[in-house]
Every structure is written in C-alpha cells, then in structure tokens.
Symmetry: C3
Subunit: 254 residues, 3 copies
C-alpha cells in the first residue's frame, strides 16, 4: 500500500482538500493519503520547504509527496516531479523543494509537460499535480515517463549561514517559536544561551525544565531549536514572529 502525503497552503475550511482526496482516490484507490498540513501561510514557499524537509524521515522510501504552494499557478512557471533520496515529490518548481535538494544525496528532476490542457488556470493541485501523484503512487506512471530531466538546482543559501545563527521559521499551536538552527550545528547543544529579541534564554531539555510561565529554549521534535514558555505561549510572551533572528551563544557573558 503506497502513501501519498499532502502539504499545501489551502487551509481546511474550503472544499479544496476534499476534492484533492477525490482525485487521488480515483487514480490510486489503494493509497493511504496523509494530510501533513494545509496551514502553510498563503504563498509561503519557504515555510512549506522547511516542513517538507523536516517530515521526510518519518515517511518510508517510495512515498509520493504532493506539495502545492503555488503563487504562480496558471503562468509559465515550471512544474516538476522530483526524486529525492527515494522519495517522490510533485509540485511547482518555485523553490518549494530547495530545502530538500540542499540536504539530499540524490536528486532527479523531471519537467511536467506544460502543454497538457487543464480544467482550470487556478487549481493545478487538482487538475495537474494530483492526477500525476496518484498515477505515480499506483505505478501507472514512472518519474521517467513524466518528462525530460532538468538539472539539479544549485543549493539555496540556507547551508551557508553561520552555525548557531538562524531565525524563527514557524510558530506552532503552543506558541513555540521554531527556528532553523539544527542541533548538529552546535558543539555543545545542551549548554549555552539563546539570544532572541534582546533577551538571553537558557537552553534546556524539555518544557518542564523551567517553572510554569518561564522561557526555555530547546531542540524540539524535528531537531531544530525552539523557544517556548512552559504551559504558555512564547509567541504571546515575547511578541516575536516569523523572521526574528535567533542566535546561540556558548555561555553566559560571552
């Protein structure tokens, strides 16, 4: 049984995701379709890319990932199928997959034929990408049959920044500020302090390491640094949002 994941900026209030499920079921009735998230902020390609890379390890090789954050829908932007370390991605070629490509061993890109007539100019997730994702999952289509190969794009600047210096990329349901700073960037990930918004926050292991209502920084469930308030919201407490710079310093007073 194959898995198809969905990651979009469609939200769950409109019937858009339900119709994607209908198309995927039509093309591959036996697939298990898993909604990763539909709450990517509208047009936020970078946020989508962050989570695509972060959730990949939790899905088996062979998974087909349908990812659509597509402000250029209906224009001549390219659409691709990307084979990335045994996973298959389907979506627009607009930077959405750059985080994946940057950390992948093997990337093979296939251009989707832009001349196929479609039922709409604004819903390519349903009319272009979901039919291809479903056929890839069912085996009715292989990546090589999709279209000509494209060159692997150069790595995005994400890999060139200074170790321990990053920014807030996502605010989760608990108000935790999730950054792009990875544990392996630090020599001693359990020590030191985190500088954010003019404050120094102690590094800890889990939320309950500090008193209720206090700030703590820790490496969260997807391996990146996050700033939290125990049983509260760091987002509300600090009034900081996505894009805020964050820096880890190795000890107090340095």
């Amino acid at each position: 049984m194959s898995i198809i994941t969905l990651l979009t900026d469609f939200g769950v209030n409109d019937p858009f995701v339900g119709v994607l499920h209908a198309v995927l079921h039509r093309e591959c009735p036996s697939a298990r379709v898993i909604d990763v998230t539909h709450a990517i902020p509208p047009q936020a390609v970078a946020s989508a890319g962050f989570w695509l890379a972060r959730v990949q390890p939790w899905f088996p090789a062979g998974t087909v990932h349908l990812a659509v954050v597509d402000p250029g829908v209906g224009t001549n932007r390219q659409a691709v199928v990307a084979e990335v370390d045994g996973h298959v991605y389907v979506g627009p070629h607009n930077g959405l997959f750059d985080s994946l490509f940057a950390r992948a061993s093997e990337v093979r890109l296939h251009l989707i034929d832009p001349t196929v007539p479609l039922a709409s100019n604004t819903f390519h997730a349903r009319d272009l990408f979901a039919p291809i994702a479903g056929r890839l999952a069912s085996g009715a289509l292989t990546p090589n049959q999709v279209g000509p190969c494209l060159p692997r794009p150069p790595n995005a600047p994400i890999t060139q920044r200074r170790a321990g210096a990053g920014k807030v990329l996502w605010i989760d349901r608990f108000g935790n500020l999730i950054t792009d700073i990875e544990e392996h960037e630090l020599a001693a990930p359990c020590q030191g302090q985190v500088m954010v918004g003019g404050r120094a926050i102690q590094l800890g292991r889990t939320y309950a390491d500090v008193a209720v209502g206090s700030l703590v920084a820790l490496f969260g469930g997807f391996g990146t640094l996050e700033i939290a308030v125990r049983d509260g919201s760091a987002h509300q407490h600090l009034s900081l949002g996505v894009g805020t710079p964050v820096r880890v310093v190795s000890s107090v007073g340095r």
Copy 2:
C-alpha cells in the same frame, strides 16, 4: 470500494466529526470517507448547497454524500435520501439540496421514516443520517427501501436571475471572493469588467495576470467568477463579504 463524503457546519474542533467517522466505519468498514468541508458557517444552508453542487463532478457516480446543515434538527422537518444523477445524498430536506436539484437531470427523493427512535434530539447526523449513509454505501440498504417517494421540489430562483449578475457566496482561505456567476452565462468570458463594491475590476485568466497586490477577476477552479488580489486578500482589500452583489459588464464605460 465506495466513497462517502461529509459536508457539514460542525467545524473540526469538536469531536462531532470523529464520531461520524466511527459510525460510518461501523456500518461500512470498507468505505473511503472523504471530508469535503466542515466549515460551512453555522446554519448556512445556501453555502452548503453551493459547494454540494460544485464538488459533485469530482466524485464518481455511486458516491454517498452525507450533508448536514440542520438548524431544525429534532423538529418535524423532513429528512431525505436523494438520488441525483447517479449520486446519493443523505440529509435534512430544508433547501440544502436545492442547488443540486436545480441543475440535475434526474432526481428521486425518498422520505426517511420520522418515527424511528433516536439516541438524541440534537445530533441526527450521528444518530439518523450516518447510519443510513453507511448502509447505503455498504449495500445493506437501497434508496427505495428508505421510505416513500416525495415529489421533486420546484427549482429554486437561482436559475432565473439575469446572466452575469450574481453575488459573493464564499470567501476562501486566500481571501478570494467566490461568486455564483458561471462562465457559461457570459458570451465572452475572457473580456469585460466586473463591477463590485463600486469598483470595476478587469477580467483575467489567473492570479498572476496582474501585479502583486492588484485586483483581478477570473473564473476559478469550480467554474464560477471570483475576485482576487494577487498574493493578497480581496476580502481584506475590499472589505466586502458574503452577499455582496457582483455584475459582469462586457466592456469599459458601458
């Protein structure tokens, strides 16, 4: 494998939808249950009807659609199973299916027995409609066995309005104002302007036809006119909501 769709005004925060899934699984373990939307505004029968008609083409004949927007739950309002062009609908007979009936070739209505004792007076989706939907999907029940036939209701006024004149029916996640004006109403759907809230907006093909932050009108993924702001929200930009009149005029200055 049969498909059961769900469309309600229940939201997804309460455990109501999860319990519907439990009942459907009990009655038809092999069915694929697809949530179309649960974000119909409370009691908004007309919005629900709009989407029921719009999503129908994306599901195969034989699909069982469980649709519940039911302000009269527990009263003597009628409950029905409706066969509409090969699809089967289950829900209250309160206008919810009028948009479907208005455009259907074949409609057969069956009255659900109102005397069956139920576990609640307020959750007929779970106690009345889901068991019937599940049995229709499994084949344990046929529409004819549900109850006596009712006459097809007269068409709603939706079909009698002037071509190209409609209103905003839905605001989607992107702030697009989705109307009930259909492409086939217009002689030249790619030309002309859209009048809304005292403004004239150019008709286009897709969102990126205009500059970032600019207004555009286009025919969206479900075939009706929508008003959008590229990479922004027409809803916020225009401060217009559901019910706003919209009119297409064939050329500037007319």
Copy 3:
C-alpha cells in the same frame, strides 16, 4: 480491521498530526485511524478526559485510543497503557484518563518502560505513544507485554458532586456551552430551569423549541446539559466561558 483514535491538544495547523499518522501506518498499515479532535486547549487535561469518556460508546471494544495532552512530556511523569472496559488507551498518566476510570467497571493499568531511548524529549506522542498504539492495534504487542501493572487510581471528585450542579466544560462550534451535568442526575430531566450567570433558562428538547435568538437548555448529543441560543451563540450571548457554574432547579421560583 482495527481502529485507532487520536485525541490531542496539537491542533491541525502544524505537521504533528500528519507525522503521527505516518508512524501509526508504519506500525499497523491496516488500521483505520480516526481523528476525534486535536483542538483540546493546550495542556487542558480535564477537557480531554471529558471527551475521552463521552466518545467511548461510539467506538467498538478493541479500539486503541491514543490520547496525548502532556504538559510533563520529557519529565519523569509516568506513561501508561490502560485497559478500560475492553478499550485500550495509550498516553501520559497525568489525570487524562481519570474520567474514564471513574465510570469504568474494569481498569487495568500497565506502566510503559521509562528507560527506552527516544528520538526527542518533546514529542513523545510520535516517539513513544504512537509506536505502542500501532503495535497494540496490529497485535504485535499486548497490554501485558507493555510493562508492570499499576494500581487503579482512586476515583476523581467528579462523581461526588451534588446532582444537577456542575460547570461549563466545553464551548462547541455553535457557541453552545456544554456542561458535565448528566441527564440521569435529574429526577425529571425535561422539566425545570437551568441557572447560569444569574439567569434562569428553560429546559427544552431541541434548539428549535424556542424562537430564533432565544436561549434554551437541553441535553445534547453526548448526554450532558448544554446551553444554546437558537441559530446563534450562547457563548457570545451570555459572555460566559469554560468553568462557569451551572445548576438545574426543578421548577420556577424554587
């Protein structure tokens, strides 16, 4: 085919729930996974417990319920598998299951080994609980194999309060104020008045028993008293929230 339910405070905007589905699918591909709710307010153990008890009757014996509201994640709080009247619960031992235990005939508690190394200190739903839930559903693991038995905890005070006197525990999508007062507490559940926020509200049978915009109290779909406004929101109308005391009196003026 086994059922696994999910009830958490994770929301549906983050990719957390999608990754839980991935882990459950890995451990038990044939299971039907049903999301009961992910909208428990952060850390609201009591709200979660209320719904766990309320939805249980709608799932068959043998269902595995994964429930995670876990403010002490990563500390030495205990983690358990609980067998409750034929259902199996997996989650933290922090009071989450107290409502279930209080009304159960049979409870058997098994301590999950706290020394197993985990991939994170903050996402035990994914790293600890979901793998166990999946293996329990597949039959690869039995509750007895999980770990040593713990004593059944003493009943929570919920069962000792005065009949007909309770509080608001949940506000649903319609703005209905759902309480913990059960129908069987009252000698005559269809008569009398409900006192809340200094008002007396007539008991009714369903929402449409009163005029549009009027208040009504009734026993809702899960058997507890709720306060509603017909086609409106009691929450907005009364400006009352979770925790508000509610009392049923048997007749006017008493």
